[in-house]
């Protein structure tokens, strides 16, 4: 199960936070900053998985039985696109490689919705971010992985606004949806 889906930028400023369990705002922020510390110090060519941040590691080591293991978040997957980090925290019932692709699907969906998505789109339309996510994941369970269906689902809720025209900086992440930080060929 997916425990949380986060997006923040290269400075650690959150752009989307979605926790599938209830968590205090302050703890959410601590977790985000811990993950940011981890993720921002990855050397080039690292894998897309993070060691557990201290907040999570502390609690997961206290569990020994394998039974409970499947409930405890044990995997932090991330992808880095242009100026943004996408993070998925999940339990062991998710497939690590599939999660990498899931993030890709999410970004591609955003790219389709915004046409050449960039960070500014996400800043000003964070409601659409949430809407897109809830077409893919409900309550921590993946419900849709098909790009077209996701996009259709979001569009059914109303028109998606474009980024404000008068906002000077454009397309920081042109082609954000395509390349990513990593030539990942083994698409599902």
């Amino acid at each position: 199960m997916i425990s949380a889906f986060l997006v923040f930028n290269n400075q650690g400023q959150p752009r989307l936070t979605k926790f599938y369990t209830q968590l205090d705002t302050s703890i959410q922020q601590r977790l985000i900053s811990e993950i940011f510390t981890l993720v921002s110090n990855r050397p080039a060519g690292s894998c897309n998985f993070l060691p557990l941040p201290p907040l999570l590691a502390a609690s997961s080591t206290s569990h020994s039985s394998t039974e409970e293991q499947s409930d405890v978040p044990s995997l932090v997957t991330y992808r880095h696109y242009a100026t943004l980090y996408f993070i998925v925290i999940s339990t062991s019932t998710e497939s690590p490689l599939a999660l990498i692709d899931l993030i890709q699907v999410y970004v591609e969906a955003l790219d389709k919705l915004f046409e050449n998505v960039c960070e500014l789109d996400l800043i000003f339309n964070f409601e659409t971010l949430h809407a897109t996510l809830s077409e893919m994941i409900i309550g921590g369970v993946v419900i849709e992985t098909s790009l077209d269906r996701i996009v259709a689902g979001v569009r059914a809720q109303g028109t998606v606004a474009k980024r404000p025209v008068n906002e000077g900086r454009s397309t920081i992440g042109s082609g954000m949806g395509i390349g990513g930080n990593f030539a990942w060929t083994g698409r599902v």
Partner: protein, 1034 residues
Amino acid sequence: MLYVIYEFEKSLYDLIRGLRNHKGNEKEYIQKTLKECRAEVRSQDMDLKATALLKLIYLEMVGHDMSWASFHVLEVMSSPKYHQKRVGYLGAVQSFRHDTEVLMLATNLLKKDLAATTPTVISLPIATLPHVITPSLALSTLADLLPRLNHSHANIRKKTLVTLYRLALVYPEALRAAWPKIKDRLMDPNEDPSVTAAIVNVVCELGSRRPHDFLPLAPRLFELLVDSGNNWMAIKLIKLFATLTPLEPRLVKKLLPPLTNIIRTTPAMSLLYECINGIIQGGILDSAEDIAGADEIATLCVNKLRGMIMINGDANLKYVALLAFNKIVLTHPHLVSQQEDVILECIDSTDITIRVQALNLVKGMVTSDNLVPIVSRLMKQLKSSSPSKDRRAPGSSSNTPETESDDESQTAITAPTVRDTQALLIPDDYRIDIIERILFMCSKDNYSSVLDFDWYIDVLTQLVRMAPIPRTFDADTGALLPTRQQVDVSEKVGDELRNVAVKVRAMRATAVRAADVILDQLLSDNPVGHPLSSGALKSSIWIIGEYSIQLALPDDSLNGLLQAIPRIGKPEIVAVALHATAKVFSSIAGSEVEPWTSERKSRISLLLARILDVLEPLALHPNLEVQERAVEFIELLKLTAEAASGQPPSTDENSQEPPLLLTQAIPSLFTGWELNSVAIHAQKNVPLPGGLDLDEPIHSNLGRLLAQTDIVTLQSDEADEFEVYYHQRPPPSSISSSAPAISRLADPDDDMASSYQQLSEESYLDADILAKRKAERMEKNKDDPFYIPSDNILRTSTPIHNILQNHNGPALDIDSIPVMQLDLEKIGTTVAAPSRPRPQPRQRVIVAADETLEGSDSGTGRQYDSENSSSNVAKAKSKKSKQHSLLQVDSSTIGSFSLEGNASEGFDYERQQREEAEMQQAMKEVERLRLEMQRANERIQMAQGADVQGVVIKKKKKKVAKKTAGDDENEPTKVKPKKKTKKVAAQTVEGGEPGAVTEDAPGSPSTKVAPKKKKKKKAPVEEVEATGEAGSLV
């Protein structure tokens, strides 16, 4: 998206622009905006309210609590306009917590929206419920959710079934009701594939908890695995099967062909990996019936995994392959150990995630052959990443979040600098992890892998220096520190050293020397006046004391101890140090053979005076243990000092014995049985002697006997002697001379150690340790004809040494390469073992096993003695205490829940009906009582002739109604008639209503609330519409 631009109010767009324009003082700006939002969200204008809420949600994302606005969230949720409603629901998802009280009020709204006609509206409560679900909410929404499983939109169906799963996690009965329908959906071949995939995802989640219930589904799942072309689903199916195969071995035969087929053909790496993973986790490797087939599949898997690690560049595959190896190693360690070469490569990966996984593996692969290279690699990592002395706890500084600022230019400057310092840096957690693993690997199986204890002791000495400083002493974060950081890892290193000293008799002298070095090091590293906090101190001091006979320079060690004692922070270490001081003193001064010359006499007096000077302040120590030990030793030493001064020194003609107190009494305190390590469970194995009744009093007249003993001891001769000693006052003069001696003796050690410290950067051992090792090796190999001593150039000039080491790779220690082979090859006569280090004879060292009694099975492998094990027991205890992880969704309730009778209607409709009828009966009764009370109230009011303004009272009443609904969820039905009467019968005093309500409450048993929701569902909602007022949704 909506941007409703107002003339006076800020939209979300304005807020974000404002944030970007207020670089530098965002905090102020945010506070201002929050204030505005607080006002706006209270407004009657729904547009304004919704916009304010959206802004609040945005600010919540960056860390500004909005729990205070939960009621306004609810208001916006109830908006008839979809785009506003959506904001409201988003607010609920993001900000509702377990303790959000208005959640109760939301029930009816959720039920109403679940029954909406527009699919987009239905989606909102469905997507929101998993975030806010509570057992009672699950109970009341279940009946509304179930029909949605048959909705015409596939989108709604799949969202509903996931939400039902989340309902079941808090309220397992929901699964009983929903499961037959979900199963029908799964079985239906015409079902939308994405719904099927969603069901598989849910079943996979459930399956990890309760695999038994899903065995009957295996044929259908198998069909899906083979036929559907959906890789996402296939991955989940394989994961599910991996949990099923252990229960149904026959599945293995069925699964193997498609799985091997996928492994051989699929282009998708993720599917390939999950296939292998599934084979491993499902235990297919062991359970295949024909051995040849199992071998074949095992080699196939392992080879594929090996290929994944080898593929250059794809770190992800490396990671997942290691992950899989970590699972295989549990059942097939030999298969993994064949891959030692590639795995060892991963230890030095730049990527910490990969390193940790590789480390996990290596831990289990250690043998006496590869222990030294592996540990060397790890030590090298620690050493090269060792933070310099002045940079303390670097992790804490980078933890400060920058979430509050939107300032990109500013942070852009700071970010790269962080990166620079971190390039070399390994997080403390990881360092602790490495050190613990090194200790684990070396001490495994009672040190069976350690051949060279000299080396091990040097490694331990080095580890003490490299151990990160624990951050437990930070008062502000102390409460939040995870438990594993609270254990000072250097304490574990120290304990290891002590274990070696105790267990390996041959190495005792070396261990004692190492302890001495550690103490010196700690003294010189910490500037005078700073407390010594290293955890290794305790064990080091204990070793110095216990084996003081083996000390090379006991006077220096005593000196070190005396310097250390006033600076030790922890009382338990002070207590140990007190004892150690006495032990060392006794070994210095207690010689019987040495003649009692005037020189010896003055030396002893001086020593005693110095010790007493250090101990005396401790007699008032706040810790009782320290105080007691200090007082005891002070008195004893004072007596000794007196005896020493009273005994005239021997002269040429008159030989004098040293005082007995010095040579007999004090040493006898500390000599006796040698201490051995005892196995952890040894005590349990002590057989209870037959005929021993522990409940029986030892003596029928114990109290009197005890009283008698007092008298007896007083009458004995020894006591008289003791009294004489006791009442003599020691001369106070000897203390004054001590202070300068301490300072004089302290100097040289400090200088030596600190200058050594900076020499070597490259190898994992510090230079002083290296130098010592070299000297020892020289000494050892002096007579070895095959050993070519490294020549002087190499030895004296460290730069060349370092260059060579750099080129040869991190793990190589020049000196440990047996150079003799060169020699032999030149001669070309004998065949030397190629590159293997000379096997070191183990018999030199005997490692004492833990002492235990017959029948102790777990005792032999213990590496820590009783002291450590007690902390282990404590840990085990803490494990038992149920502690939920962050982000964890507890599904344990599901685990104990049985889905028996899958096919039958699990949900007991009859019972429901019965309860409903009962409920109605009760409700009627309640209603009757309530009306009566109300009438009585009115009568009172009429009598009083109270006249109240309509508007104000109305609001107040509404609040009351809300509150009661919050307190007790079965209220809504009552609200309806209540309000009607309200309208009809003028105004009531507010006090009357809650009175009536609380009277009602006992009449409607809350346990039976469940089934009646259909009846009451619409009531309050209708009323909202009737009053037509935004904000009065209850």
